[in-house]
Each structure stands twice: as structure tokens, then as C-alpha cells.
Symmetry: D2
Subunit: 439 residues, 4 copies
């Protein structure tokens, strides 16, 4: 995480202030439950809430931690200043990980909520631009080579539906990490009743963890970070597409370039797709974080603490970077400058050759054998390729072709509508009616 690639709302989730606030809530709710059980006095549980609006002094807590070398104890010591002598009832029967792990999951849930909003915004932008360019014809490319016509809207619809899948994956992953553990030293509830966990979970918007062993099992988090890696990979796909479309020779679309941006007009062609290049790099990072998250799963026995340093880093790094990337991509899509004229120019680069497959098919449907159809198309195609001729013209002057096809029949194969006739069908698959409100 570095400021350059951070947004404040997501960054705030990972601040010490937020962390201590969540710790407080966990402890306070736990006290309520303990009081209900009669384990601690009602008055103690009430006293804890005196710190409800307290501003915890991070520097002070850090100073205590440097001394006692224990973060939760440092916090509790500071918390006692707000509560008074009844602070001794706080945290009873609990283990530090009860607080730390539940807090981490609350942070991941909140981060996921922001990311889901980010993805909604991105999907909305993709949908809007997809609808706008539903019928903007451009060449489709396989292997970077011209294939057959498609529309720019279809490209965006594909990106939409892929990101929509990612949204579902993240929603699922969010649910997976939305668990709470208040189960004591090795997860046996030896010193704390399971009802405390149930109460805290409900209050924090979490489910209880079926089996915790001091720690919440890390397969949940591995899945979470793996999903972030997949989301990042989809971001990369869109970023790479735009980088390709912005290439000097292609220039079918380009990132919006603000009028004041330095250096543009002396070399007007030199508008670099720096935002999507940046996204390509950020995707590499988010993807890389999935690996240590997976290595974190195999903790020793009931727990070791090797996952902790990893999570202190990838918790913020992965979510902040992905939040930034999603927002940046949304901006790119929103303002993307599309050049339909260049799309048309590129489509026509080979003077009709793009229709050669279809002509061949039409010939066979006219009863010409595959081999002959191929030969006929080939000899006219080569004239286009080598001599710069026009494909339709050549076909019309090829007696063997005109023997089986009229001029109108030849021309029919050059109708671009042929390629776009199912655009609506595909859009109807992607933008389902129930999505309408969301868009």
C-alpha cells in the first residue's frame, strides 16, 4: 500500500483508530453477553460502554505495547482509563485472538463492501458504454489479427458480464470471511460460554465460526485473497484491451486526456494509455498477494502466528490496491474516448477481405464443392492482398463466381448486418431484466 494508489475510505478501514474501535465493540458486546450469563456484573458491562465515543490514543497504546510487547493488553490498559476499576471484567475468558481474528474479519467484510460498491460502479459504467456502443461496428481480432466484425458494445458487454461474475465471487468470499470466534485459548469454550460468541457475532454482523482453534481457519482468507486475484486478472484483461485499442496504428479508443495534461499537443499522437498500463501493474500485485494467503492456511496445530505478518501486509495492500484499481478503471471506462471512424477504417483495411469466409460459405451453399469454393475465394483474395484490389469488385468480375452467384448475392455477403444480427440476443443474456434497477 502506498498513498499514490490509495483511496481514503478503504485506507481508513486499516487505520489503528478503526482497529481499536472494532476491538472495543467486540469487547463491549462480549461483556454484555457475559453479564447476561451472570459471569460479570451488569454494572461492569454498562461501564464498558462509557468508552463508546472515546477517542483512543494510538500513540499511547503503542507506547504501552512497546513495554508489554502485547497489543491487546496494551489496548485494554488504555481502555481502562475510560472505564475505571470495572475494566477488570473486560476480556474475561477470552484470548487475544478472539479479538484480533474477529476484528480482521470485520475489516475484510467492510473492505469487501467497498469493493462490491466499486464493482457496481464499474459495471454501471461498462453497461452504459456498452449500450451506447451496442451497434458500433469494429473488427474482432483473434491472435491480434483481423477476424470477423463485432461491435464495440459486445466487447464492453463481455467485460460487464465477467465483472458481474467477479461481483458474485466477491459477495460469496465476503460471506465466507464474515465469521466471529470467541472461543478461548484453543477454541474449546473452556472459559467462555458459546452464547457470548453468538451475541458478539450477531452484533457485529457475522456468523459464528463452527470450529475455531484460537484462530479462525485461514482457508477462508485464502479464498478471499484468491478471489481478489481473479478480480485483478479481469481488470488486467480490460486494461490490456484498451492499451491495444489505443496503439498508434489502431487508435479505436483511448483514455480521456484532459486538456491541461502536459506534452500532448506537440506530439498529438503521443497520448499514452498510462492509466491502463498502471492497472496492468497493479493487477500483478493483487494477484501475487493470493499466494502467501494460501501458504497461511497450514498453521501448526491449533495455531501459530506466521499468518499475522502476512495479513498485516496483504490485508491493507490487497484491498486498498484493488479498490484504487477498480475506481481508476471505472473512470477510464466512463470517459473512454471511442473512435468509430477509426474502427470503420480498420475494418476496411483489406478492402472486403474480412468477408472472405462468408463468401466461401455462400459458394458452398450454392452447391460449389469446398475445394472449389476455397480456390475461388483464394484467387480473388490474393489479388486484394498483393495488388490492392477490392474484394467485391474482383468477385464480380470472376466468371466462375458469377456463374453461381448474382451481383446481389455477392453483395449480400458484404452486409455487416449479418454479423450484428444477434447483438440483441447477446445483450439480453447479459443485461437481464432484474438487473435493470441496478444499472
Amino acid at each position: 500500500m502506498i498513498p499514490r494508489y490509495s483511496r481514503p475510505e478503504m485506507t481508513a478501514i486499516w487505520s489503528p483508530e478503526t482497529k481499536f474501535r472494532i476491538w472495543f465493540e467486540i469487547e463491549a458486546h462480549a461483556c454484555d453477553a457475559q453479564a447476561a450469563l451472570g459471569v460479570i456484573p451488569e454494572s461492569a458491562a454498562k461501564a464498558v460502554w462509557k468508552a463508546k465515543d472515546a477517542e483512543f490514543d494510538v500513540a499511547k497504546i503503542d507506547a504501552i505495547e512497546r513495554e508489554v510487547k502485547h497489543d491487546v493488553i496494551a489496548f485494554l490498559t488504555h481502555l481502562a482509563e475510560f472505564i475505571g476499576p470495572e475494566a477488570r471484567f473486560v476480556h474475561q475468558g477470552m484470548t487475544s485472538s478472539d479479538v484480533l481474528d474477529t476484528c480482521f474479519n470485520v475489516q475484510l467484510v467492510r473492505a469487501a463492501d467497498i469493493l462490491l460498491d466499486d464493482m457496481d460502479a464499474l459495471c454501471a459504467a461498462l453497461r452504459r458504454r456498452a449500450e451506447e456502443h451496442k451497434h458500433t461496428i469494429c473488427i474482432g481480432r483473434s491472435h491480434g489479427i483481423h477476424a470477423e466484425p463485432t461491435t464495440f458494445g459486445l466487447k464492453l458487454a463481455q467485460a460487464y458480464v465477467e465483472m458481474d461474475r467477479n461481483r458474485s465471487r466477491l459477495a460469496q468470499a465476503r460471506q465466507e470471511v464474515a465469521t466471529c470466534a470467541i472461543s478461548g485459548a484453543v477454541g474449546t469454550f473452556a472459559n467462555i460460554d458459546p452464547s457470548v460468541e453468538a451475541h458478539v457475532a450477531a452484533k457485529m454482523g457475522l456468523e459464528t465460526e463452527p470450529v475455531s482453534t484460537q484462530v479462525i481457519p485461514r482457508d477462508r482468507h485464502a479464498m478471499f485473497f484468491a478471489v481478489l486475484g481473479v478480480v485483478a486478472s479481469s481488470i488486467e484483461r480490460i486494461a490490456i484491451e484498451i492499451r491495444h485499442l489505443q496503439r498508434t496504428e489502431v487508435l479505436e479508443a483511448e483514455e480521456y486526456f484532459s486538456p491541461g495534461q502536459k506534452g500532448s499537443s506537440a506530439m498529438p499522437h503521443k497520448r499514452n494509455p498510462v492509466l491502463t498500463e498502471n492497472l496492468t501493474g497493479l493487477a500483478r500485485m493483487v494477484r501475487a498477494y493470493a499466494l502467501p494467503a494460501m501458504e497461511n492456511v497450514a498453521l501448526w496445530h491449533e495455531r501459530d502466528i506466521s499468518h499475522s505478518s502476512v495479513e498485516r501486509m496483504i490485508g491493507p495492500d490487497a484491498t486498498i490496491t484493488l479498490d484504487f484499481a477498480l475506481a481508476r478503471l471505472t473512470g477510464v471506462i466512463d470517459k473512454l474516448v471511442v473512435h468509430p471512424k477509426n474502427m470503420e477504417r480498420n475494418l476496411n483495411q483489406f478492402r472486403g477481405l474480412v468477408h472472405s469466409q462468408r463468401v466461401m460459405l455462400a459458394l458452398t451453399q450454392k452447391g460449389v464443392s469446398r475445394e472449389d469454393a476455397y480456390r475461388l475465394v483464394q484467387r480473388n483474395a490474393m489479388k486484394v492482398w498483393e495488388e490492392g484490389a477490392d474484394f467485391m469488385d474482383e468477385l464480380k468480375s470472376d466468371a466462375e463466381v458469377t456463374a453461381v452467384m448474382t451481383r446481389e448475392e455477392i453483395e449480400a455477403n458484404f452486409d455487416l448486418g449479418h454479423h450484428t444480427k444477434h447483438v440483441e440476443t447477446i445483450f439480453a443474456r447479459v443485461f437481464r431484466p432484474e438487473d435493470d434497477d441496478a444499472a
Copy 2:
């Protein structure tokens, strides 16, 4: 994939024979749909099914491929031998990827089905052993250091519920890759009606892909392989646990060692946990395959073919290795030799010290201040640690302790039942009634 770590059923999914069989089915179903549309003659569609029980000659197809440098054309050429002249209607309007991508997804779905069965078997073994050792007390360890008592059944219940989560993840991932694309050169259905795709999808047990662009989008596969990586990580967790438990100094459990296995009885302690060590390594491999799968997402424009070489390798490698690993782990769990006596010995290694936390809590509940309780426990604990005394005995002869606690009250803290009183609660969370049939 290497034979040593392969099982035949999974390996068969990736054989050329299976692949060509699936290709055939896709082509034949497509012909049926094309005939229904009147695009090709009914008789042609029927003729195709003549090859239903044909044995395709892999070597022959390979030979043709070496010549034409195109795998699908090579197959179609061979297929024509079985069908006769009407073979020319096969594959009309389709693109090779329609066949390749749909086939790959069929293979992944079948692989997932085997893996789901593997996980059911593993879960059944974990559940059986968990029930068996529900009350087998052993020491719980955090950081590799004795913490508080737990039961061996709880360890296995944790493994069960984690693997059960993995099962759900894989079921979800299976559903995600269960899609079919028959959409032509750049996915516009320009030369093939969407109803053909719908028909083939239904026949092959797949959903139609909302937007394919010659290829089925690779975020689906990235997610699939990422899930395999998480499953592998959970396998590693269990493997590491067993390796720890089998350590010479711990020896609470060990892999079954068949009587004939060489080298055991001259050094009876030298029974190495080689199966779980092996699983640890295999987990590294399956995890590693997730990365290139994620890099495969960002194909260029409508498609490039960089994903293909990756998938030819990780398709078989990841699924075959994971299948082998799950089966091996199931065997390990099934036959795991558990040593409750050693568990008891280890639990008592520090003559009662494991109960120190609870004694301290009990003292505070008797009104002793935290500081005093700590001091009292500490001074008796140090005698145990340094002089080899027994903790309970020391407490009973400490006047300051006996001033607030009776002998019975002291002894109550050494009751192991305290630590196991919620085992049933946890088991009820894990083994839900609706699971009963499956178990």
C-alpha cells in the same frame, strides 16, 4: 502429472480418446440442432451418429495433424471415414474453439465430479475418526507450545468442516466452468444460430456462455484453479498436523505402517510420515498452478492462444495431482494410528501446569486481585518448572492459596471435563443433521 501421482479414472479424462469422444458428441449434437433449423439435411445429422461407437484412431489423427497443423481439422478428417460424404455438413458455421473450449469445460466438470467424490470420501473418513475420538483428550498447542487441553476429535472435526467448505467452493467452481460456447469466429453467432449452442449445452449438461468471443472467458478457469489451490492448502494443513503428531518426541498419531514395510523393526521409532510429507509437496504444486491460470485471463482482444499451452499442462496436472492427494489423504486418515496414551503422557508433561491459567481465573473469582492471583500461580508454577514438583500438590501446600480455596476447589481446576464440556456443542455445529445421510 506423472504416473507415480496419478489415478486411472482421473487420468482417463485427459486421454486423447476421451477428448475425441467429447469432440464427437459436440459435433453430433450441433448437427442435430442444425438439421432442426434446416441448415443441414436431417439425413446428414443422422449419418453423423454412425460414428457413435467408433473407436477413433489417435495415432492416425496425430499423423493428419502433423500434416495440416490443425487438431480439429485432423479429427474431422478422420471422422469423415466413419460418416462418409455427409461428413461435409459437420462443423458448419462453427469455429475450432467452439469444440475445444466446450470440450475443456466438459473435462473440467468431469474432473470436478471426481474431486467432489474424493472430498466426500475424505470427509467421511474425517467424520468417522472425529466421532471415534470425540472425547480423546490431548493437549492443544499454540505456537507449537502446550496451551490448554482439547480433544483429538475436535482437531478432526475442524479438518472436516474446512474440507466441507472446500467442497462447497469446488461445487461452485464446477458450476462456473460448466458452460458451452458455439458462437463462431468472434462470438457473434454470425454463421450459426444461438439455438445450436443451447441444444449442445443442454445435451452436454452445460449452461450457455453469455458472451464468448471465440473463447470462453478465462476468469472462470482462473477461479477453478484457484479453488484447487485452496483445497491443496487445506490438505497441507492436515498433512502438517499429522507430521507434527508423528514426531518422535510427540508420537500422538502416526501413519499406518504396513507389517511388510522395509526397515521398520530394527529402528522401531523410525516410522517416517512419508505420505503426509509427500502431500505437503503435492500441495505446493497444485497451488502453483493457480498462478498461470490467473495470467491466462487477460487474452488479447477476442482471443489469443497463449492460454492453450498452459491449460494443456495444468488441466491434467492440477486435477490428477489433487485427485491423488485427496485419495492419499483419505487413506492416511482412515488408517491413522492414534496413541491416546501418548496424548495423555504429553498432556501431563508439566505435572499440572497446563491448568495454571484456570487456577488463576479461579483465584480471581474468589476475590483475589489479578496481580495477586498471578503472583500466587507464578510462584507455584516455578517450582514445578524448576524443581519438577507437582502443581496441584504445591497449590495445596501454599497457605495463601488455601486461605481462599479448599482442596476440593483446587482440585476442581484440574478436571479435564472443564475443557471438553462444549465438545458436543461444537460437533453439533459441524455435523449438521442434514449431513447425516451423506456421512
Copy 3:
């Protein structure tokens, strides 16, 4: 490793036959050393060499292994058939890993030797084509956008020098894994004299491992596979460059397309860069193998066997795949079809705008302020960009420009020689005299 991406020489290194041959050599040399020490009879050491030209029966050894569950014992049992009763002196004082680890390193060294040859061939091809196109001018691109002219030879020279660095890295990594350990159960030489290790090492072309602990430490192998990952990444860089150059709109270079290759002439533009796309995918695989190799380093205590399954897979997979990729890339470079005319066409796409930076610099050197120079270039550039004018013509008709520069001075800025004047300097850096023999 799959046959499609394998070459026989490299594959042979990883065959069971090769492995058993190496095992035999290690055992036989060890016997010689043991005999020299008087530990075993001279006659026994001589008897072992009776198996020098034996063909070991892999199936038979496998059958024995299935029974005894120990690969080295299975081999020794089979070996005894060739040697007779004196076989009992073989392997004395040794541990299986002495054989296995030393063998693995021999295999890696041999694999490295093939890879080094591959890299020599690739470098030779790169050099030849670099010299050929030393002065073939083309546009240089940053961010995929036209920047300033360079030469195609410089692109290849860059690739050459990068691959040459990789060659040095691999030579270093080869040296790192070229070690031998014959040190017994935990590496203490308790039952075998260090001179045996020294003798075997010398005979097998290896160095002795300073401290082995039954195993040769795996940091050596982690480094080896990491280097393969870096080599693969450089392959990817070249592959991506060619894929870009072959794009329909760019078409400055393309993979050689054999006349017989199917499907080319009906769509003559549809020549797909499938070889370099394939290389892009293979690079992802080789890179991925570096990770489990790094995870293999942290074995438990003196050794565990978790590295073994990983190495059985990545040993062949990484080296065979990289060998194939290097050879394929060499072929691509060797036969690469270069289109200097298209390079010229692309360079001139913006009618002189590529020289705008240089004109601006020339103006400032004429005393025009930066701001004014920028303004002058900008207003003429915009006419080129928006109206399709010619940049040089516009400058010549701009009074403010001609006030400070003569027509000749303006024209001088459009001299491409300006950009190529240091090509020789750079080539002299890359192709050092001492390399001449090698090329």
C-alpha cells in the same frame, strides 16, 4: 511435461533408464573409493563394474519397488543380479539420499548443458538477424504509441544481450547445483569416509557439498529454478514483441508461415502468431515452477521428503518446457519474416510528426524560449493531426519558424540518420570482440 512440448534429448535425461544409469555410476565409483580405503574388497569394487554396460530392466525394478516400497533398495536388488554375491558390498555406509540427491544434481547439470546450448543457438540467431537489420529503420514505441525512430537490429541486439545475461545466470546456476553428497544418514560421515564423496564428486564432474544433512540443501535448487523463471520471462518479452509486430495494423514482422499451412490464402491477412503466443503460455508455466522450488528450501530439521514430489514434477517439467521454448523461439527468430516497407509506412504514418520533439529542441537551440518553441511546434502539429497536412511543409510556411530556421535547417531535423548515428556504438557494446568466435 507433455509430449507436444518436449524434445527427445532433454526428455531422455529424465527417463528411468538414465536415472538408473547415474545411480549405478555413483554406486560403482563409491565402491572404488571404499575399496581404496580398504572398507570393502578390491574384488568387490571390480565386480560392480560388471554391470557397466548392463541394461537395467525398469519394469522389473518397478515391480520390486511396489513390494519393498523403497526405490533405491529395489534398484540395488536388481543390480545384484548382474554383480553376484559381491553386490552386498555396494552402498555400504551410504544412505539413499546420497544416491538420489547426487543423481538429481547430475540430471540438472546435464539439463543445464542442453539449455546453455539452446541459448547459444538462440543468441546466434538473434545476432545474425540483428546484424542483418542493423540499419533497418522502424518506429520505436513507448506505451504502444509511436515515439522516435530506432532500428529493428537494435531491438534484436537488446534481445541478444538480455539472453546473453540469462546465459551467464544459468551457467552460474548450473555451477551451483553441481554438487555431490555422500555423507550418510544425517550428513556426519559417521559411516563413510569423506574421501568417498570426494572421489565420486570428481568422477561425476561435481563439487563436494560443504554441509549436507542427508539432503543437499535446496537453496541451490530454488536458485536454479528461479533462473529458469527469469529466462522464461525474457522469452516472453521477445514473444510479445513479435506478437505486437505481427498485428494486422502493424505487420512489421511475422512468424514464418510454411506454404502448406492450412487456411492462409483465402484470408491472406490471417497469419496468426501462434508460435509466440504458445511461448507466452509456456513462459507462464516455467515461471510458476520457481515458487514450489522456493518453498522446498525450508525442510524440517536434517530433512523431510516434501521436496521430492515437487522435484519429480518440476525437474522434468521446467527443463523440458524451457528447452522446447528456447528451440521454438530460435526457429521463430531464424525464419522471422521482416517487412521493412511496412516499417517505413508505419514510421511515416503521421507525416513527419515523429520529428516534432527534435524540431522543438532545434528551435530552443536557435534561442527560442521553451514556451515559444512548444507553441510553434504545437500549432503546426495540430494541422498535421487534424487536417492531414505534412509537418515539414507546415513548418516551412510558418513565418515565425522560418524567422529563425532556414529551410535546410528545418529539413535537417527530418534526417533519420540522426536517430541511427549511435547504432554502431551500441552494437559494439553488445557484440564484444571476444564474442566473435562464439557467434
Copy 4:
């Protein structure tokens, strides 16, 4: 990078202040060279050095950057405030990447120098403790199971020599990234003489980059970060060893636990190896950073900027984390509490069984057949294992054994000196005379 795992010296390398300081030096040296060539006035070059001791105002530069959206221009604008009108001669003929890439390499070189010092300190600690425990006998373990005796010094010597190899690797990687590029827009030196690059390189302690293409090729950096990943893996190996040794049941060594550290004395056994667990996690992170570094190699054409975001993150993150980890590990080794008594206790856990292999060997050397030797050892071993007998006693009362061996001969096999007789040999391999000064 997070403060918790950062040390100030390394962190300072990555501060904006340091970066701008390096940028200044590059620009100023370039001016000197340009003046020597007569490209800019001598006086201008001198004027630049007026900013030699200037304190650049990071906030101000950031503010300018937000406006012009270009970091180097922002810096140059700020720099002009110190230099005055002659600032216009600064950066002539250069491109931003000349500054950025050369600066990044300077930072990596400085980071490597700190890391090399860290490794020297770690090696010194390892050596000191290795010498101290050269003859401290402990059990060697394969698969976590007791094997044969070794010494604790040998374990540390192994760690030393592995880290020493890492030191060489890093020194090599440092040299690889120690390059400078001042070659202009696409690396052709079109607007700047190569002598400028040579001068700056010499002044900054770098070599000139043979072929840069606006950017310095990223294979160098991929190698650098891959080496950091290997170093981290070796750190993990040592950390895991200590974690194992500190396990409750083993307790042969433990991290130093300061008297004031909370929570220790009530559960004196509960001293957790938290530092080495932390190192295990940090190793995962440093390893993960190697991957995006490898993906950075394949930039598009002469360059794209996708590497930049990656490097802004992993540049600091990887070096700061590894610096912290090396220093932490050095502290752990320095103060490691070793328990030779527990080593002895563990060694004797099976009452002599550890010598069974050697007894078997001795029997065969007495002429007993392998099968018989095995049977004799086995039957006595089983008594030890099952009945808790003493192995030597059993052997002495086994008539079949005493028939071929005297009591003294039996006892000789229990001499631990047998296992340590080559410790000096191994130490002499590791701590070579030429290292003496360094130690």
C-alpha cells in the same frame, strides 16, 4: 512495507527526499558531461551544483506534480528555484526514464549494500554460535523422526554456509542492477551523446547499460527480486528449525525471552517462538514479490509503464521486509538459548536405539549375514520399544550377539564420538581460512 517491520536506514533509501537527492545528482552529473561536450555552457553546469545542499521541498514538488501530472517535470520546476535561469539547460536531451531508472538502480544498489551487511552480521552470529556448539551433541532428525546423532554446531554451520551462498547471490544480483541509462526517448542516443551516460554511470558507481530502450531491461530486476526470494526461503529454513526445537516436547533451543516479557512465569513452558513464526510469514511475503518482478520483464516494444506501479510497491516492500527479517534473525541467533541437557535427554529417549543401525553394520562386519544381523538387531530393538528395556543391556544378554561380539565391541557402537569424528572436517569446509578476517 509497514512500520512494524521496517528499519530506518533501509526505509530512508525509499524516502522522497532520497529519491530527489539522487535525481539531482544524476541531472547535475549529466550537466557536467554535457558542458564538457559543449552542449550546454560550463556556467550552467556549475550553476546546477548550487542546489548541492538544497533541501528539496517534497510537499511543494507533490503539489506541482498534481498539476502537471509528471513527476520529473515537477521536480525540475522545483529545482529551478535553486538554480535560477540556467535551470533551462538541465535535463537536455534526456528522457524522464533516464532519471527514474538510473535512480531506481541506485536505490536497489544501496538497499543491496545494507542487505549484504545484514547477511554479514547474520553469518557472524551463525559462525560464533556454530563454533560455540561445534561439539554439542544432539539427535539428527529426518522426517521429524530421530535418525542419528549430529551436533548443534553442524546445524548452524549448515545455516551459515547456506546464507553465505545467498550472500554471493545477492552480491551478484547487486552487480546486475548496478547499471545506468542516459540514452533518450527510445535508447538511441539521438539527442544525447553516450559519453554523458558514461560520465553519470562512473559518478554514480554504476556500469552503463549496453542496450536500454528508454527503460533499463527488467530481467535484471527480476533476477534481483528472485534472489531476495531465495534469501527469504533460507531465512524460513532457519526459522522453522528453531520453531521445531522450541516445541514443548523438544525444547532443545528457544528464542531469548526477556525477563520483563509478559505472561511467561505463570506458564513457564509458554514461551512462544513468535519471532521465528513472524519470520516465516515475512519470508512468504518476500518470496511473493518475485513473481510480479518476473512479470515485469515483458514490457511492450521499447517500454510500457506497467512495471512502475509494481516497483513503487515491491522496491521498498521487499528490501525493507528482508532487511528487517535478516536483522531479526540475527538477533534470534545471537541470543538463542540452547539447552544441551534437553538435547542429551532427547538423544537418549529410546535408550540406545539410535545406535541400532551401527550395531547392525558392526554385526555384518563380523561376518554375520545381512539378514541375520537385521534379525538380531530387530529382536533386541523390539524389547526396547515395547518393554522399555535398554538396548545395550539387551544386546549384551543376547547369546547370538555375544557369540560374535565382545562386551567391549558392543559398547564401542554406543560411542557418540563415532558420529562427531568428522565435525572438524566439515567445519574446515565451511569456515575457510580466507573467511577468518570477516568473522
